[in-house]
Amino acid sequence: MSETLEYVASAARPDAPPAILLDKVNKWFGAMHVLRDVSLNVAVGERVVVCGPSGSGKSTTIRCINRLETHQEGRIVVDGIELSDDIRALDAIRREVGMVFQSFNLFPHLTILENCTLAPIWVRRMPKREAEELAMEYLTRVRIPEQAKKYPGQLSGGQQQRVAIARALCMKPKIMLFDEPTSALDPEMIKEVLDTMVGLAETGMTMICVTHEMGFARQVADRVVFMDRGEIVEMGTPAQVFENPQTDRLKLFLSQILRGH
């Protein structure tokens, strides 16, 4: 991975539009300025890891991408579509962007299979049988096809998070957002989820992951973004960011999470 990845699209399609473009995005919660001029280009097929202390705006940034939060200033363009108040644009973006949450957010009243087929049937208008075949394919890929008829409450945290990944993939998204996917998991379950994400990265999926898993970042990230107090402080390859931090804020952050590991 070289620096050339930093601002241009993938080498194979240098003039392809970026998968995600954030241009001077600002957001306030009440009077609190939580995102300050956040600008980020993510190329098609690129894997970006966002890290930073809690309250730094990492989650808010990626939640703005599928408009779970609305930004108040700046531009966000996803897959060539600009996010605006236009509901059709929002629908189109949400169909192309999958999201995995820290707390899984599986639907407790639906079986694992139904969790996965719900959106393909109601949003993609896919016949049920086709949706179920697709769901089984992805459940197999995250290695839990045998749980299909169970309910989320019967599964372990790691299994639930893998179902959540399969559920998002069933919409065949072009982009996947991960919001601290392993933070709510016991240590022995973190690996199974990270392995699934590594497998996904190998398929060439465009991914933005908010995570503190340094090993994962080193293994799959094309770029690591460090955020603090609502702004992007440093950005570069994992080697640049982790081995050669430029700012005191990043040095402090790295020393803190390294002590924790």
Partner: protein, 400 residues
């Protein structure tokens, strides 16, 4: 994960517990306590019963329900069915029962609608709407229902008399005699058209079910409104037109001191309904709010992130989870409306309690009168409970 062979150690039956005749054995204690409680309750019931029978004998009061077939001679102001004072007590009580059912059923429907609207409004992001709903709930819940009923009744009583009646729309009169509305000269054509509408509703319901089932199978959405319009709009109109399209109406007219013709919503019924609906809606609003809040925000977010529209999120994700929190306390509120309707006595609406009271005053059959009231409320309440439990079981969620 399916295992075909089972470890024989897992097949061992649990050991039999030996019954020990000792006060320290919890099963012995359980049996002794239960026998004691049943014995005490039985004794109290027997004592009350024998006392009553003895007192009735001493006072030479005849017991039994023979009085029901005697002429009542009691006037009833409003009735769903034909009634005159020369009818029997049984018919008078039936009129009272129907009046109770009328106010209870209309009250349950209206308070559910109003309560749901206010409950959702209190969750609104609009500051004014949310605050107004909150104030409504807090005020209405804190005032006794009886006071509210008297308040509404007093307001309706202080309306002008029939001669000075307010006439908001031609043919509609509002006075201290109630609300007078024009009504159709009811004919068979109307009954049949109404029947056609019901049939149309059933057809639409089945069609909608089919359409949704098919949509899940092949993914293609189907239009439901053309069928709904045809079955529930065109069909009744056709039936009505085929039978000569009668449309003459019965208009209320002032004759002497009161109105003749049309239909009447009496001030007593209106005050009772208004009081019950406004009061109960305050409680239902809180139940609905609690039910929606019981569904975590993450469920909304996950469903929206998958591309579901707000309506789909509500229908597929939020409502199934909210309803199981809402239904059980809602049942209590429906029972409350039904039982609170007995406060009708205070404002002169002749419900079952009012008529049974008059009956027992006139006949002296107090025990039978009270028994009838209790039987009526028990039957209505149990019916509501059974229906709601059935509905609750139908929507119950399996999660494990």
């Amino acid at each position: 994960m399916s295992q075909t062979t089972i470890d024989p150690r897992l097949m061992r039956a649990p050991p039999k517990r030996k019954l020990r005749l000792s006060w320290a054995d919890e099963r012995i204690r359980g049996v002794v306590w239960q026998v004691l409680v049943v014995g005490i309750v039985g004794t109290i019931v027997w004592w009350l019963w024998s006392n009553t029978v003895h007192n009735l004998e001493v006072r030479k009061i005849a017991t039994g329900f023979g009085f029901l077939t005697r002429e009542a001679g009691l006037p009833v102001a409003e009735s769903v069915i034909e009634y005159s004072p020369t009818d029997t007590y049984l018919r008078a009580l039936t009129v009272g029962l129907l009046n109770t059912l009328k106010v209870a059923v209309v009250g349950i429907v209206l308070s559910t609608i109003l309560g749901t609207v206010i409950g959702i409004a209190r969750l609104s992001r609009n500051w004014l709407v949310a605050k107004l709903s909150a104030i409504y709930v807090e005020v209405i819940r804190d005032l006794p229902l009886l006071l509210q009923l008297l308040f509404w009744y007093t307001i309706l009583q202080s309306l002008p008399g029939p001669r000075q009646a307010m006439q908001p729309v031609p043919g509609v009169f509002l006075s201290n005699r109630g609300l007078k509305l024009p009504w159709l000269d009811w004919q068979d054509a109307h009954s049949l058209a109404l029947l056609a509408l019901l049939l149309g509703a059933v057809v639409t319901w089945f069609y909608r079910r089919q359409a949704l089932a098919k949509r899940i199978l092949d993914g293609q959405p189907r239009r439901i409104w053309p069928v709904a319009l045809g079955a529930m709009g065109a069909l009744p109109v056709l039936v009505w037109a085929a039978l000569g399209a009668p449309w003459t109406a019965d208009w209320p007219e002032l004759r002497g001191f009161n109105f003749r013709g049309g239909v009447t919503v009496s001030p007593e019924f209106f005050a009772l309904l208004l009081g019950l609906v406004l009061y109960t809606a305050g409680f239902i609003a809180e139940i609905v709010r609690a039910g929606i809040l019981a569904v975590p925000q993450g469920q909304w977010e996950a469903a929206q992130a998958l591309g579901l529209h707000p309506g789909q999120v509500l229908r597929q994700i939020v409502l199934p989870q909210a309803l199981r929190v809402i239904i059980p306390p809602m049942t209590s509120q429906y029972l409350n409306i039904t039982k609170n309707s007995s406060l009708a006595v205070a404002i002169g609406y002749q419900d079952i309690v009012s008529i049974a009271n008059t009956t027992l005053n006139q006949t002296g059959q107090a025990i039978e009168g009270i028994a009838i009231i209790m039987l009526v409320y028990l039957t209505i309440s149990l019916s509501i409970s059974l229906f709601m439990n059935w509905y609750n079981a139908r929507i119950a969620l399996v999660e494990r």
